[in-house]
Amino acid sequence: MLPGNRLCPGCALSLAYRHILKALEGQVIVTVPASCLTVLHGMYPVTSVNVPCVNTPFASTGASASGLVAGLKALGKKGLTVLAIAGDGGTHDIGIQALSGAAERQTDFIYICYDNEGYMNTGNQRSGSTPLGAISGTTPILGKQQNQKDITAIMEAHHIPYVATASACHPLDLYEKVKKAKAIKGTRFIYVFTPCPPGWRFPFSDTIKIGELAVQTAWSVLYEIENGVFRLTSASESLARKGNLRPVREFIAVQERFKNITEKQISELQDWVNARWQLCLKRATNS
């Protein structure tokens, strides 16, 4: 990444992308659908990244990566990692078919979903990853009435060799996971939690704080599943060890998008977070 790009101030994607590319050491071809990353990449004929990139229509990220892998193989070009990187709209929603197909075919590539929990590039509309109770452009008054889908669990069900969750606000953990993924063959999926100041409505200066709070409340859990073996990592691992889980209410309270959330919804979210956290603890113990 070159200095200076068009993203919003405090954007977690900028931070995440820098560490992702660093871990791949430049030997990479990137494919990107319509997303905030398109904004980061800039406008023709100027770009803020120094890697070869193929922009692709919204629904097609997994297929575009499959084409890059097939083309490289057909031409006998070795040593390059194909990286597909898309937002939650491009992954959970419109891109899930192409991603699922590519994973089922065990395509040799890394897919990274950066999750800002909504269609932020188009001005914050609800996505399949927008949480219960959050206000968005298309849930403007009542807030979203359904909770997120668990995309990492969906990808785990594809029996791919490496599945991980990470956070832009824990960049070393993210870096290590991308580095590990780079050395593995087959489809590798990494989910990256990326707080969005304008979409979630918190001050630009608080991105890291929000990301850390997400992990401390287990809203965001950092783990990896390598060949079926589950492991908590980084701050989530120490949270499990110390047992000092903070209530989800603290994460919710600092974001304006939850201003109309009801007590019942907060309680439902806490139950959801608890259930997932307990499952993670159980899996971590078993493995």
Binding site: M43, P45, V46, P52, V54, A63, G67, A74, Q97, A98
Partner: protein, 403 residues
């Protein structure tokens, strides 16, 4: 002249042979009736070790063309095939491929489009995609399918515009005919390896299809680069100029294989014809039988069988139609609220020329409705009678159906 290698092939296997002989490197396809045997044959060739290519069994047509797009950007020669709803599902990617100026070749086995469901033939599917920036070539028989696929790569890779080779579902796709299959050594001589205009190399990083503004913009070196509108202009210019390449490639093919494709359309007895039937695809063969019937009745009838629909051969067509006083256009498609697409094109081409022929348009053969030569001849006779009304150009087409 080469020694003939006659094989009995249906249209789908002729298309697969064309792809194989063109040494395609990446194939991505999704099954749909009546295209499926193309993909089955190619996967059999790849699995059996008889075709050195990557076969990607994708989960949708949208993905099929996305795979071809990215593989083509890497520099591979790519192939896909589809029909009807599959082509409609590719619509977004069709624009994307043409906009990226990639020489992808797609075979469209023409089939009606729903609702309601129908798996039989008409040309609504490919005609509906005429504005996506692809060259469109229509085959009349299975020989033309294999020949056109091979030529398609040479054309596409010369002008960096994708090519869609279209042929009628069932009428050709599932009908066996003798086909002279070119020898690999000759195809290799005719079609050199693909030289991509794209580069994907970390040491020379390029970013393809970034957001591009309407107006030209200065790059980091201070050079003014094209805006979106200039890039669109260049695509149109490439399509306009591709006529020369299409005819040149067709001529070269003829010199090597003895079957010339040096014209944008097929002419049958146009030298003296004052009644010209215009049709596309296998319908052009049926129209020749109708012309025989009309000749027996004493009419000077001929046939113009359109081979290339995009770019549309306007000036060539005006020359070919110069003796006509009645042009009867049969369309297996309809632009709802207007008329058949071919008819509109012919009218547009003739405007301002010295040809003042009456034009009649008939919509035929939708959803596999059988089209008999006798019906075509009757439609021409009906048109001749209607000339007495003194109407050159009717507002809407007539339909050969039971309403």
């Amino acid at each position: 002249m080469k020694k003939a290698n006659i094989q009995i092939l249906d249209g789908n296997h002729a298309a697969a042979q064309g792809a194989k002989l063109s040494r395609v490197q990446v194939i991505a396809a999704y099954p749909i009736t009546p295209q499926s045997p193309v993909t089955e044959k190619l996967s059999e060739l790849v699995e059996g070790g008889n075709l050195d290519a990557e076969y990607i069994a994708v989960e949708s047509e949208h993905s099929a063309l996305a795979v071809c797009t990215s593989a083509s950007i890497v520099g591979a020669r790519t192939f896909t095939a589809t029909s009807s709803h599959g082509l409609a599902y590719m619509h977004e990617m069709l624009h994307w491929v043409a906009g990226t100026r990639l020489p992808v070749v797609l075979v469209c086995v023409n089939r009606a489009i729903g609702a309601p469901w129908n798996v039989q033939n008409d040309q609504q599917d490919s005609i509906s995609q005429r504005d996506t920036g692809w060259i469109q070539i229509y085959a009349r028989n299975n020989q033309e399918i294999v020949d056109s696929v091979i030529q398609a790569y040479k054309i596409a890779e010369a002008v960096y515009v994708p090519v869609m080779v279209c042929y009628d579902g069932y009428i050709l796709s599932h009908t066996e005919m003798p086909v002279d299959v070119p020898a690999q050594v000759d195809v290799d001589r005719f079609l050199p390896p693909y030289k991509p205009h794209t580069i994907l190399d970390p040491s020379h990083p390029r970013n393809y299809n970034l957001v591009t503004l309407a107006n030209p913009r200065v790059n980091a070196e201070g050079v003014l680069c094209h805006g979106y509108m200039e890039l669109r202009y260049l695509l149109q210019e490439a399509l306009q100029n591709s006529k020369e390449t299409i005819m040149k490639v067709g001529r070269e093919f003829g010199e090597l294989f003895g079957r010339s494709y040096a014209r944008m359309f097929w002419e049958d007895r146009l030298d003296d014809a004052d009644i010209v039937i215009v049709a596309t695809g296998s319908l052009a063969m049926e129209a020749m039988v109708a012309a025989d019937m009309l000749r027996k009745e004493g009419h000077k009838a001929g046939v113009l069988g359109l081979r290339v629909f995009r770019p549309f051969p306007k000036s060539e067509l005006v020359r070919a139609l110069r003796k006509s006083r009645l042009i009867v256009v049969f369309d297996k498609n309809i632009s709802y609220g207007s008329e058949g697409a071919t008819c509109s094109e012919i009218k547009s081409a003739l405007y301002g020329s010295s040809i003042n022929a009456a034009i009649r348009n008939f919509i035929v053969g939708l959803g596999g409705r059988d089209v008999k030569a006798r019906e075509l001849a009757e439609a021409v006779n009906k048109s001749l009678l209607s000339l007495k009304e003194g109407i050159l150009n009717k507002e809407y087409p007539e339909w050969i159906c039971y309403i």
